[in-house]
């Protein structure tokens, strides 16, 4: 790592970081604070259209412009913005990072001609070395952990970089430009750890950190974590913390003890009175004994990595648990009065008609009561995952415009999926979809802060609306599955499936109307302003 002190001969690099900022983007905010700690200048601008990026580049004249690519499918948009940036006269070194960039640097360099390099895996030290090399005139091509285009156009990788073992050397992420005071109920993201000890086949977190030489989960000093929490709460007015840890409880007993230390220290400092949390964890970690101390400290919402309710699916996903574990987790969360949402892949590459049916039945048992909105989607073969490799080995992966996809083993499921995607786009997939509203209202109805106490009647109303929508979605899914099963060659546009779509859309419109009523009710209860922060 380049932890060299500044010298008279080295000027500070000017670094412009471009990233999505739906929630605080801690990835680039850690990069910014780390660069500043080492004497460089860092400015963050939100990714969107090219204009703000060009404006910032013209103002700063950056030595490096670093892009954070979160979604593989957005490569063309990044390519266009970078091209406009170059056309506008930006001269700085353009680099890019993120999961896809780390795993497929050659494809990315080929897809984005204006790119100078790719920063692979964790970027703090690599970006610092790159910045330092560029302002000192050193050969940046030897910086470990990057990829670049050789003279012949072929991608070259430098030596891999060993990631730091401890996260406590990193300064807190830079949040100076975030206007928490303008939010009615200020919400901030925070990280207590990086990495995940599990090896789920659909997830690239494990392979990402493997690539960095930092297997498993690295946790920060819990006291320093609570210092950051206290700073956010007392100095910045934050009332809700969204823990961005991939698995807040992952790592066995040590991890539970760590989480409980964070909780007890928070309580000792009195943060639990008016600071609330959201965490992510697995179902087999969502136990009363593990969660109760966190609830005392302010935990109000859990994102649960459920993924499937079918035993064979769970085996394919390498989740290492059975569906009953999810049901028990749901019971524990209800007993603790926590709101939750969850990830769920109704379909995965090795699905069968029976596994989909089992999943629908599971969802009925899990959230048929409307305690939270039921999500369901299809597994996407993300780059760097075991599932992607297995599909590739089976000859089933096809790629188009940097997007990888697959067909199901049973063609009937292809018809089912196409129909499902269309039918439930308004509910599950479109921007501002019905499910996101239901989940946000669920979060909101459980949120209990001194100035906006939770309302049991509001909570009951949200659950009732969510329950009606969930059950109807399950009924429609089941009817669609019945149809494709009994039909020799079903097509997504068959009359019966069209009718089901029409029925769901009608029901969805009525759910939307209910949501409007719930929002008015929330505003009447002074809940306005916190909606959607759980998503």
């Amino acid at each position: 790592m380049s932890d060299r002190p500044m010298t008279e001969s080295r000027r500070a690099a000017r670094v412009l970081l471009v990233a999505f900022e739906d929630q605080d983007n801690l990835g680039v905010r850690y990069l910014a604070s780390f660069l500043r700690k080492h004497g460089h200048q860092a400015t963050i601008v939100a990714f969107g259209n090219a204009a703000p990026v060009i404006e910032a580049a013209a103002r700063i004249d950056p030595d490096i412009i670093g892009f954070s690519l979160i979604f593989q499918y957005m490569v063309p948009e990044f390519r266009d913005v970078i091209a406009e940036l170059r056309a506008a006269g930006a001269r700085g070194h353009v680099t890019i990072g993120g999961h896809y960039a780390s795993f497929e640097p050659a494809a990315l360099l080929a897809a984005i001609p204006d790119l100078d390099s790719v920063v692979r895996f964790e970027g703090e030290e690599t970006l610092l070395d790159l910045a330092t090399a560029l302002v000192t005139g050193a050969d940046w091509h030897s910086v470990p952990g990057i990829a670049f285009r050789e003279d012949g156009g072929k991608a070259a990788l430098t030596a891999p970089r060993q990631g730091t073992k401890t996260l406590d050397d990193y300064p807190w992420p830079d949040r100076d430009d975030i206007r928490y005071e303008e939010q009615e109920t200020p919400v901030a993201s925070i990280l207590g750890s990086r990495g995940c000890p599990w090896k789920c086949s659909f997830c690239s977190i494990i392979t990402f950190y493997d690539g960095n030489g930092t297997k498993g989960r690295r946790r920060r000093d819990p006291i320093d974590v609570v210092d950051e929490m206290e700073h956010l709460h007392r100095d910045r007015g934050v009332e809700i913390l969204l823990w961005q840890d991939d698995d807040f409880l992952g790592g066995g007993r040590d991890a539970i003890r760590w989480a409980h230390t964070v909780a007890s220290e928070s309580i000792k400092r009195g943060l639990h009175h008016s600071l609330r949390w959201k965490i992510s964890c697995r179902s087999d970690e969502a136990k009363l004994s593990s969660l109760a101390p966190l609830v005392d400290a302010g935990l109000t919402h859990v994102y649960l990595g459920v993924e499937s309710g079918d035993a064979n699916d769970l085996r394919d996903l390498n989740k290492l648990l059975l569906p009953d574990v999810h049901l028990r987790a749901g019971e524990a969360l209800r007993e603790l009065g926590l709101s939750f949402d969850f990830g769920f892949m109704l379909l995965q590459p090795w699905s069968t008609l029976q596994s989909v049916r089992n999943n629908i039945n599971f969802l009925r048992r899990f959230v048929g009561d409307g305690y939270t909105g039921a999500t369901f989607c299809r597994m996407l073969p993300y780059v760097g995952t075991a599932a992607e490799k297995r599909l590739r080995d089976e000859g089933r992966l096809f790629e188009h415009d940097l997007r990888a996809d697959y067909l199901f083993l049973d063609p009937k499921l292809d018809a089912f999926y196409t129909w499902m995607l269309d039918t439930f786009a308004c509910r599950n997939f479109d921007s501002g979809n019905t499910l996101s509203w239901l989940c946000s209202l669920t979060f909101d109805s459980h949120l209990d802060l001194p100035h906006r106490p939770a309302s049991p009647s509001f909570r009951a109303a949200v659950q009732a609306v969510t329950g009606a929508n969930n059950r109807t979605a399950f009924d429609i899914l089941e009817s669609g599955l019945d149809y494709v099963e009994r039909t020799a060659e079903p097509g997504p546009d068959d009359d019966f499936l069209r009718m089901l779509t029409e029925i769901y859309h009608d029901h969805d419109a009525r759910t939307r109307s209910d949501i409007e009523s719930l929002r008015e009710m929330a505003e009447g209860n002074s809940h306005r302003g916190t909606l959607a922060c759980a998503s």
Binding site: G370, P456, S457, R459, A460, A461, Q463, A464, V465, G467, A468, N469, R471, T472, D475, I476, S479, D482, Y483, D495, F496, M499, L500, I503, Y504, D506, H507, R510, S513, D514, S517, E520, M521, E523, G524
Partner: protein
């Protein structure tokens, strides 16, 4: 304990007149009775010899509209409410042979700028659009003025009844005024939860009477009614009817499956209504 905000106001702009402006503690569920003068005078700085003269029009006591100046009656709701005596300056309103209508938002105790008129018979008596005045001479026969079920400004409120401030009689949404007659009439719009001042007695959702001490709040009732209404009017009935109207031999299994799915969606909504009621009965 709810407060009753007692004022005198000028019709229709709502400007306060006189010094009456006080909050009187009330008890939820108890009757409230107020009295005021039919004629109200204020000093006229511009012409001291001729004081400003106001004539009583109507009361809004806790959401009950009445025209007896000496007996303005209402029932105190659980939240803050009003007792407003509405007056009109004497000399106003002599506009010839016409019927002036006003959409009055009861919960907000004010006239809103929308016309309450949906239609008029004879049609020639009303210019349409947002006109609030009906001629009593154009066309022939009595004027039959039908009120709109809702007006844009009175969000979520619906028409309750006509309240003529002179000639005319009302039946349901129709106000009838004799040809050549001249009068003012209020179309009263009320809703079920204003988030603030909420008269109890005239709230349509309370008319069936309380279910129990755990009676759902007005907004819950509104939602329940909405759920039940939509369920009753859902196209499922049409789909079922359409299927039943088919020749027996042409009804397919998929037809019946479609009806079943749609009815299930209705059942799901009705179940959510039951859950809401149960939650209330359990005191959640």
């Amino acid at each position: 304990m709810p407060n009753i905000h007692r004022t005198n106001r000028q019709f229709p702009d709502g400007a306060q007149i006189g010094a009456t402006d006080e909050n009187i503690p009330g008890t939820a569920g108890s009757p409230a009775t107020f009295s005021t003068d039919v004629d109200f005078f204020l000093p006229n700085p511009g012409d001291p010899a001729h004081p400003l003269h106001y004539r009583f029009l109507f009361w809004n006591v806790c959401g009950t509209i009445g025209n007896d100046a000496h007996h303005g009656n209402g029932t105190v709701p659980s939240t803050d409410t009003v007792a407003t005596a509405w007056y009109v300056p004497v000399g106003v309103g002599d506009g010839g042979a016409a019927i002036a209508t006003f959409a009055f938002w009861v919960e907000h105790d004010r006239v809103v700028p929308d016309t309450p008129i949906q239609s008029v018979n004879p049609a020639a008596a009303w210019a349409g659009g947002n006109n609030t005045v009906v001629s009593s001479t154009a066309g022939s026969g009595p004027r039959m003025i039908t009120a709109k079920n809702s007006v844009p400004t009175a969000t979520n409120a619906t028409f309750d009844h006509w309240f003529p401030l002179g000639a005319g009689s009302a039946s349901a949404a129709v106000l009838t005024v004799a040809e050549g007659g001249s009068t003012w009439a209020l179309a009263l719009y009320q809703h079920h939860d204003s988030g603030g001042f909420r008269p109890g007695k005239n709230d349509p959702t309370t008319k069936p009477g309380p279910i129990s001490k755990f009676d759902p709040s007005p907004i819950d009732r509104t939602r329940l009614i909405d759920i039940l209404t939509k369920a009753q009017t859902h196209p499922a009935a049409d789909r079922l009817t359409q299927v039943l109207k088919k020749e027996q031999s042409s009804i397919s299994a998929d037809d019946l499956r479609g009806v079943a799915v749609e009815l299930k969606a209705n059942i799901n909504r009705l179940q959510s209504a039951v859950e809401l009621i149960n939650a209330k009965l359990e005191g959640k």
